[in-house]
């Protein structure tokens, strides 16, 4: 019997949906082994079709996108109810992703329209057609529903998608599984690491990096050392630092803080000592926009709790 598959997007760019095509003709094998019960990007099943399904009748559900609206939250709750295994697919569902950087600021609607704004329906007689309210924070999937497994990446690399389907379609899906390497990206990065010290922090456009050497050694903030492997180090190979889309390695904890610690540890301005402090600070100041740089995908999962504390204090004070 073919496995029943659902794919759903919440606050998503669509890249995750398109990423399945990266399997190329291999997608045909996958499609031949599944029955798609719900996948808005691909088939015309509607919400009512989903609501009619019995609980736990979908074998595997993949959700991509950040949770941004009330509707998103309702839909994933509905999918959770209908699914045996539900997984976060892609960095947004896994970690919050790039759009979750919005959590750094205050409410989006408020930022644009000011306080008190409510969306309105096109006709007063159809209040149900009001655009859905936004959640106060952009959330990763596991903040709203239990998540059984993760296919990480922005979007997930073809190799990991294939690995996922292999496991899923052979019934080998394990709870808590993350379809990426346990070891950091550096494991698969061909760049040569020599003298590990950073004497300046450079932004990618400020330097044409040596094609052979480690980007971190060349002063670029590369999240490779804290990020799971599994993408074949595609960005460092292309001359750009890793920005961490596959998420932190199992024991890294907060990847931004882990990398921050590593980065600060590597900074050297000549001899270490009090005389070097000002120059060290100057080097460290080269890390502009630390939130956007270090928490590019993981802000919702790791940076948000502190941000929430701060925001609550701001509210209390106001």
């Amino acid at each position: 019997m073919r496995a029943k598959l659902a794919v759903y997007w919440t606050g998503s760019c669509g890249g995750c949906d398109v990423s399945f095509l990266e399997l190329g003709p291999g997608l045909l094998d996958v499609l031949s082994q599944v029955e798609i019960v719900f996948w808005p990007a691909l088939v015309d099943a509607k919400r009512q079709d989903l609501e009619r399904l019995p609980p736990r009748s979908i074998d595997i559900t993949l959700v991509n996108g950040v949770l941004r609206t009330e509707e998103n939250a309702e839909m994933v709750a509905l999918l959770r109810e209908k699914s045996r295994f539900l997984g976060a697919y892609g960095a947004c569902a896994h970690l919050g992703g790039v759009p979750a950087l919005a959590n750094q600021g205050n409410g989006i609607l408020e930022a644009v329209f000011g306080p008190g704004f409510r969306p309105a329906p096109p006709f007063p007689e159809a209040p149900e057609d009001t655009p859905p309210d936004l959640l106060p924070e952009a959330l990763p999937l596991d903040e709203v529903v239990p998540v059984d497994f993760v296919v990480p990446g922005c979007p997930p690399p073809a190799g990991l998608i294939a690995r996922f389907f292999e496991a899923a379609l052979s019934g080998g899906l394990q709870p808590g599984q993350v379809f990426a390497e346990e070891k950091a990206l550096c494991e698969e990065c061909p760049r040569v690491r020599e003298e590990r010290r950073i004497s300046r922090v450079l932004r990618p456009h400020e330097v044409l990096p040596d094609p052979e050497k480690c980007l971190l050694d060349q002063g670029m903030v590369c999240l490779g050392p804290v990020t799971r492997g599994g993408c074949e180090a595609s960005c460092p190979k292309a001359g750009m630092p890793c920005t961490g889309c596959l998420g932190p390695t199992p024991k890294a904890g907060d990847p931004a803080l882990a990398l921050l610690s590593a980065l600060a540890s590597l900074v050297r301005a000549g001899e270490e000592g009090e005389a070097a402090f000002p120059e060290e600070n100057r080097i460290l100041d080269g890390l502009v926009d630390p939130i956007g740089t270090l928490y590019k995908y993981a802000f919702a999962k790791y940076g948000r709790p502190l941000r929430r504390l701060a925001r609550r204090r701001e509210e209390v004070r106001a």
Partner: protein, 139 residues
Amino acid sequence: MSEFEPKVVAFLCRWCASAGADLAGTSRLPYPPNAIPIRVNCSGRVEPQWVVEALKAGADGVLIGGCHPGDCHYVAGNYKTRRRVYLLRKVLAELGIESERVRLEWISATEGARFAQVMAEFVAALKRLGPLHGNGGAR
């Protein structure tokens, strides 16, 4: 309502800051009891994540006590910590957390009085800042 008593976690290097705290004790120099001291071998062992986890778990401030520059028992651990804290404070500020809530102090084994004074100052500064967990929410 009683006055706000800040909760502090203090990571103290065993050779300098913790020894300085011991000296404050031996010298019977009182200071506010708000801090929970946690002794580590070197301030270089302290991870930024510990600091953040402490803040998330209910601390209003975190103190890291290490050796004075040039005095690190392990040569340069304190320099690493200094740089980590420098960046960490930057990140905290961007998150809207007052960077004063995280303090790095050089306290030698002979500076018992300084330890007591740092504690008193820090607690006073945190009182001015107010609670990080204002409406009771811990996590």
